[in-house]
């Protein structure tokens, strides 16, 4: 039986995976509006908005759950991350605010042309910036450059160098590509005919881009972020794990080529999950490498147990609610 801290850590990772495959794809949808081209550009934008509208707010809550779990169960790690990564987190928040607000504005513009046009523009740009900064934050957390005095909780590193570096930005770029990939793959399931072909081509391009960024990101990890890079590439599990992830990634592309869209969607989600699981495995047992280990920075056992209880009860309510939401809006 795993320790409660490990369980909470696992839930945290799971919540991050769900956030990327749900909320991340919503950001990707906004990015595809930037690239709406060709004779069906207007149609592309229409279906993208239609796909996001009823669900983006519910998807967004996964991020809140991640933050809450982090500060409830690993408070020193949360505090240190918020100090060291103040700038990229703030930029991400600005993106989140602008994306969400402008999406509502353009949906309910009621014929106000100025607001509609400017909201659409801001919505698209914010949809691209937010996953980029989310990835930068993740990359900086994984990068192992945030140093903390484990006794006092004081952050010893500066406020810039942990994130303003090649590795976090490579992770940011990869996150952005992954979100656009997921969005395009989902859209192939939710559209038909020529429109579906548009998204199929976009999905293929984004999938290749994910692979093209993943390789330098992994090698970059080895060079610039050895704390994560070495276990990620040199542990006993590394080779079979990467072969598996790579195989699934290729499988998703092949499924797209063969127009097996539902299969492609499943494989794209699996690929995303594996990438995040790989991060988690390489970083374990650290929450914030190298100074904050999971046992050492975890909240007292009673807090973890109470949180797990709330998670359990909450899930019982949440699962049927999400199933209902998807049944109503994503059926067929």
């Amino acid at each position: 039986m795993p320790e409660p801290a490990q369980l909470v850590g696992g839930v945290l990772l799971l919540a991050m995976i769900i956030y990327v495959v749900s909320g991340g794809a919503d950001f990707g949808g906004g990015v595809w509006e930037l690239f709406a081209r060709g004779p069906r550009a207007g149609e592309q934008v229409r279906v993208l908005r239609h796909a996001i509208a009823p669900i983006w707010e519910a998807h967004h809550v996964w991020l809140i759950l991640v933050v809450v779990l982090l500060f409830t169960c690993f408070p020193p790690a949360f505090a240190a991350i918020m100090v060291a990564l103040h700038v990229p987190v703030t930029l991400m928040l600005v993106g989140i605010v602008l994306r969400g607000a402008t999406f509502a504005f353009q949906s309910y513009a009621a014929g106000d042309r100025v607001i509609e046009r400017q909201s659409v523009r801001l919505f698209r740009v914010a949809s691209a910036i937010t996953p980029l900064m989310l990835g930068v934050v993740a990359g900086a957390v994984a990068g192992g450059k945030i140093r903390v005095d484990a006794e006092t909780g004081a952050v010893l590193s500066d406020f810039v160098s942990p994130w303003l570096a090649p590795f976090p930005f490579l992770v940011g770029l990869m996150t952005l590509c992954l979100c656009t990939f997921l969005a395009a793959v989902y859209m192939t399931v939710e559209t038909e005919g020529a429109l579906r072909e548009d998204f199929r081509r976009r999905a293929l391009a984004a999938g290749i881009a994910v692979g093209a960024v993943a390789l330098p990101a992994a090698l970059g990890a080895l060079a610039w972020a050895p704390l994560i890079g070495v276990p990620l590439l040199r542990s006993a599990w590394a080779l079979p794990f990467h072969v598996g992830t790579g195989g699934i990634a290729v499988g998703a592309l092949v499924a797209l080529l063969w127009r097996r869209f539902r299969l492609a969607r499943m494989l794209a989600v699996a690929q995303t999950a594996l990438i995040l699981i790989g991060w988690g495995m390489a970083q374990y047992p650290n929450v914030l490498a190298p100074d904050l280990g999971i046992e050492q920075c975890a909240a007292p056992r009673i807090v973890l147990m109470a949180t797990l209880t709330v998670l359990g009860i909450g899930t019982l309510l949440l699962v049927p609610a999400f199933v209902w939401l998807y049944r109503v809006f994503k059926a067929g």
């Binding site: 009823p54 409830t72 169960c73 909240a299 998670l311």
Partner: protein
């Protein structure tokens, strides 16, 4: 500007901005659901039209509330990392519950807004009820965390460290329920009168609209009931504050020297340096009664406490007067409306009353802002009452004036757009009623 002041200003602004939208997200669904329920019962299309129009307002404001709330949950750490490092484990539980309530609220709202044609009538109404309940619950949960900052409990303090942490006891602190009840009722008060004001304006422009008359009456019922209950919850809360946060209580009263029996000060201008409150109207015995339920009990003044634990007295006192004054004003408006109702004068034909309602539309929201100033400024210099000072909790990140300016610009921009959009929706609906 010092980093501490910049951090406090930024936090204050984020809270002040978010609360406006959070309040609508909590209370507006009640109006929306009541209108739809009337529609299902009567099949009168005016009710359906109202439910749809109100739901559009909810949609816009909920989205801004959701994202500005996200900013706040991060800013707890971005601005007050030392507070979160020490207290995260103690206040996290209600936040986790709030997370699930927020999930359900967002899911139900998605179903409600986009499910008009996809869900059968009763099921659709049920999703609206889900929005209402989940919204109310998320508010109640989040306030548990704030209440804990006012009345920290559920731990032992050993060498400045929290040990023997009990997160359930922390959540069940003595300030939680009175604070939550007061906030919830205030939300219905603000939204009730805000909505009534909008429909009063529309009735002034286009007299005789049946839809706006109904909207006005329904909103007044909601706001009016809340107006009667808000002072009751406020009284319960004040009695807790008097015992658990006596310094805050003395500051919000502008009471420097202890009094037994103590008189209530109405208005007035506290001079913190001189230690006197100028120009207040004193009502003998009343403060003793309000604080402790007895006309003779002593009420402690600020002079009994060291100066370095005083909050800014002027701000706290004036904010409290503004909050209570606005609450009383709305109670008076409610009484006027009730009197008109009893005399069987149609509300929509009393133009002076409609004008009064228009003028009072922002009053509830202003009262809520003032109330949060009392709560937060009145707790200073503490971030955790009596345990951790705000100055000890602030982030070491430099140049906080930059995000302060940035978020100020962002929020002003969003506020302007929301205002313009809502105005547009309101006047479109004026044309709609003509058709």
């Amino acid at each position: 500007m010092s980093n501490l002041l910049a951090a406090r200003s930024l936090m204050a602004m984020s809270l002040a901005f978010h609360i406006l939208f959070a309040v609508v997200g909590m209370a507006m669904p009640l109006l929306m659901v009541l209108a739809e329920w009337r529609w299902l019962r009567t099949r009168d299309p005016a009710w359906l039209e109202l439910a749809k129009r109100w739901s559009k307002g909810v949609a816009i404001l909920f989205a801004v509330g959701a994202v500005s709330g996200t900013v706040l949950s991060f800013q707890l750490g971005l601005l007050w990392p030392e507070f979160m490092r020490r207290a995260g484990a103690l206040i996290g539980l209600p936040f986790a519950m709030e997370g699930f309530a927020f999930f359900l609220e967002a899911i139900c709202l998605g179903l409600y807004l986009y499910g008009w044609k996809k869900l059968p009538g009763r099921v659709h109404l049920l999703s609206g009820v889900g929005v209402l309940l989940a919204g109310v619950m998320s508010g109640v949960f989040v306030i548990a965390a704030n209440a804990w900052m006012n009345q920290p409990t559920g731990f032992r303090l050993v060498d400045g460290k929290f040990v023997d942490i009990d997160p359930v006891a922390a959540m069940g602190n003595a300030m939680w329920l009175p604070q939550a009840a007061h906030m919830l009722l205030a939300a219905f008060l603000a939204v009730g009168f805000g909505t009534a004001g909008v429909h009063a304006l529309l009735l002034l422009r286009r007299p005789g609209s049946e839809m706006h008359r109904r909207a006005l009456v329904l909103a007044l019922w909601v706001g009016g009931i809340a107006a009667v209950l808000v002072p009751v919850s406020g009284d319960l809360l004040a009695k807790r504050v008097a015992v658990l946060q006596p310094v805050k209580f003395a500051a919000l009263e502008g009471l420097f020297a202890s009094e037994a029996p103590a008189s209530l000060s109405l208005g007035g201008w506290p001079d913190q340096d001189a230690g006197v409150t100028h120009g207040a109207l004193k009502i003998p015995y009343l403060l003793s009664f309000l604080a402790h339920g007895d006309f003779a009990t002593k009420v402690q003044g600020l002079n009994e406490f060291p100066r370095d634990v005083w909050p800014p007295v002027l701000v706290t006192h004036v904010a409290f007067q503004v909050m209570v004054g606005l609450g009383m004003l709305l109670l008076l408006v409610t009484a006027t409306g009730a009197w008109l109702g009893v005399r069987r004068r149609p509300l929509d034909q009393q133009r002076w009353f409609l004008r009064l309602l228009v003028a009072c539309a922002p009053a509830g929201f202003l009262a809520i802002e003032a109330g949060w100033v009392v709560t937060e400024v009145g707790r200073q210099p503490w971030i955790i009452q009596g345990i951790l000072r705000t100055s000890e909790a602030v982030t070491p990140t430099p140049h906080l004036t930059v995000p302060l300016l940035g978020f100020t610009g962002l929020y002003l921009f969003l506020f302007a757009v929301v205002f313009r959009l809502l105005r547009r929706h309101v006047f479109l609906s004026a044309e709609g009623s003509h058709a």
